[in-house]
Amino acid sequence: MNGKSCVRCGNKAQLKRPKTGELICKECFFVVFETEVHETITSSNLFSRGERVAIAASGGKDSTVLAHIMKVLNDRHDYGLELFLLSIDEGITGYRDDSLESVKRNKEEYQLPLEIVSYEQLYGWTMDAIVAQIGMKNNCTFCGVFRRQALDRGCELLKVDKMVTGHNADDVAETVLMNVLRGDIARLQRCVAIVTHDESGGYIPRAKPFKYTYEKEIVMYAYFKKLDYFSTECIYSPNAYRGFARELIKDLERVRPQCIVDIIRSAETFQFDTVNIRKQVISRCEKCAYISSQKICRACVFLEGLNSGKAKLSVFESEGKTQKSKARRVEEEEKVERSKVSILNADW
């Protein structure tokens, strides 16, 4: 790349843009990166003046760059937003405790108020304790359900109008492929929306300003801006099936970087037969009053499972009738295991 010049300003090029392959200098990269996010925000009318906006901050690269850029763009283009950092403490020793430290440093650097909501305080369980009970399998299902609710509770505490998350183009493309592979048509329809919300106002709208931003460019931006972020993956096993999709996206990007944005484009142009999509009827959970499509929300079902020691069962039960047979099988397996334990105890 030595001696090549930036396609925008003619100065010495310092990098090749992952999204377009253009040779560009560092300063021009900052400009195009920030401008593209700004354009996404304005063309999709993500915010209105005077809104209170929570930035979901995990301390990882995406959310750190998101916090930085929201602050920069809010000041530069005078969006008139009041920004907050919102973090969830899942209670994962050696992972979340360290990443929360970087969120706390971001709080100081950007001078933004920070709210931390913990699983322990909301549910009485940390992820460490949950994994100790249920093992590594399916623990992401618990974490996902709890996090979703915890973020909403955090938004309620902060009294914000919207929440932004650091989901990037790679994440969205990966989710599109996952939903095609799983045949989840309802999620396929939702996953490319730049703002997801519930029409009845059940939960705070969530926006993805990085929907068209490549992960590699986010890393590049964080690297050149020397942003302070935490870069370790969660210590509990990642979802294997999702891992396949992620790997394909990475391979595709190597062959043709435009694939990522083209996958998103494809999903945006899918036409859905409304007859085929079961419309969710949103009501309130009888136990905790959180929005739910069932009488009892999944978080409460899981909690009951955890508290009664039948947590594995609750994963299947919460997924509806079709999973009942699986649930029965798990129940039987658990019975066998319990009897084994009692036999062992008897031996003692």
Binding site: L181, C259, I263, R265, S266
Partner: protein, 357 residues
Amino acid sequence: MLNHLMQEIVSPHSYRTISFFWSVLYIDIGAAVGLSEEERLERAGQVRDQFASREHGSQKEFYIMPLEYAFRNDGENCVEKMQDYLNSFKQLSAREDALRQLVQTAILNFAQENNFSNVITAESASNLSIRVITEICKGRGFNIPLITSYDDSSTHEGVRILRPLKDKLAKEIAFYNAVEKLKPVFIPDITTGTPLKSSVDRLVEEFISSLQANFPSTVHAILRTTEKLKVPNMQTVFNCVVCNSVLTRDERRSQEEAVNGLHTGDDLTNLQRLGKMSCYGCCRELDFFKSSENCSNLLSSKDDAPQQNKFVSERIAEGKTILEDFPIYVNDNIHKLIRMSREQVKESISEYLIEDQ
């Protein structure tokens, strides 16, 4: 396998006899994949033998359509022209895409010209699921339901495509062939012998095959997903001029702009304009036309400022249009599009026009 099943169906000894006339069409892609004249003849002969009726009395026609016919023009070497055209796509994925379109169009044009109402293909569930994911990766999500529909009531200008092996896995077909002692003829593809990670199609193929090996419901799950999508309306006459797919509303608007912006004597096809008349997916592929660096970036250039790659500027300086490099049907499609647009305008003002007596 498909041939064998068809034979069974029309056979007088079969337990269920359906009578219809059918012919075999063999698209000879030999010139595109670098086979010599002898090799091409040999392959065609093998295919012909394969399809030769095992039942006496069946009057089945066998047609060979060399792919390069899409470039046939007086006094020009169409084999060379086709090879130049395919080689102009500087990325293997784009070249593969161009080849597939040539084959697809050759089949449909043959059927239309020879008054066939149906085309039966032997695409399996495995092929189709790979194709679905590939097309998603290439930005053609809108047209996916048309790839997988079983008996699609919508037709390509009177020709319907039927895929009776749609539910069968490649493995099942291989078993059937082994049991029935049927030996498929091997015809190399443009990616034969290329590394696994060399093109979008290859990557997706590898991905689906390995996923299917671990999760045996993968292929059918993908097809079930696409069946739940709405099939785009094919009744429109304004399609992509390159691949003939149905356009989304945005794509159609951009096409309309490109046609309306034309003035008499204009070069119909600078690459920019051709991109505007095409679907998103073809526009992406055109980015790689004579350019390996994707610097033309047709998709991001929404304004009218000519933003052409070096090749196109040279071509214009030579007084040639890039259209001369494309298959003839692209030219025909553009002219048809212009004609239809004028007719549409004429119809909208028809009540004010005074007809000659």
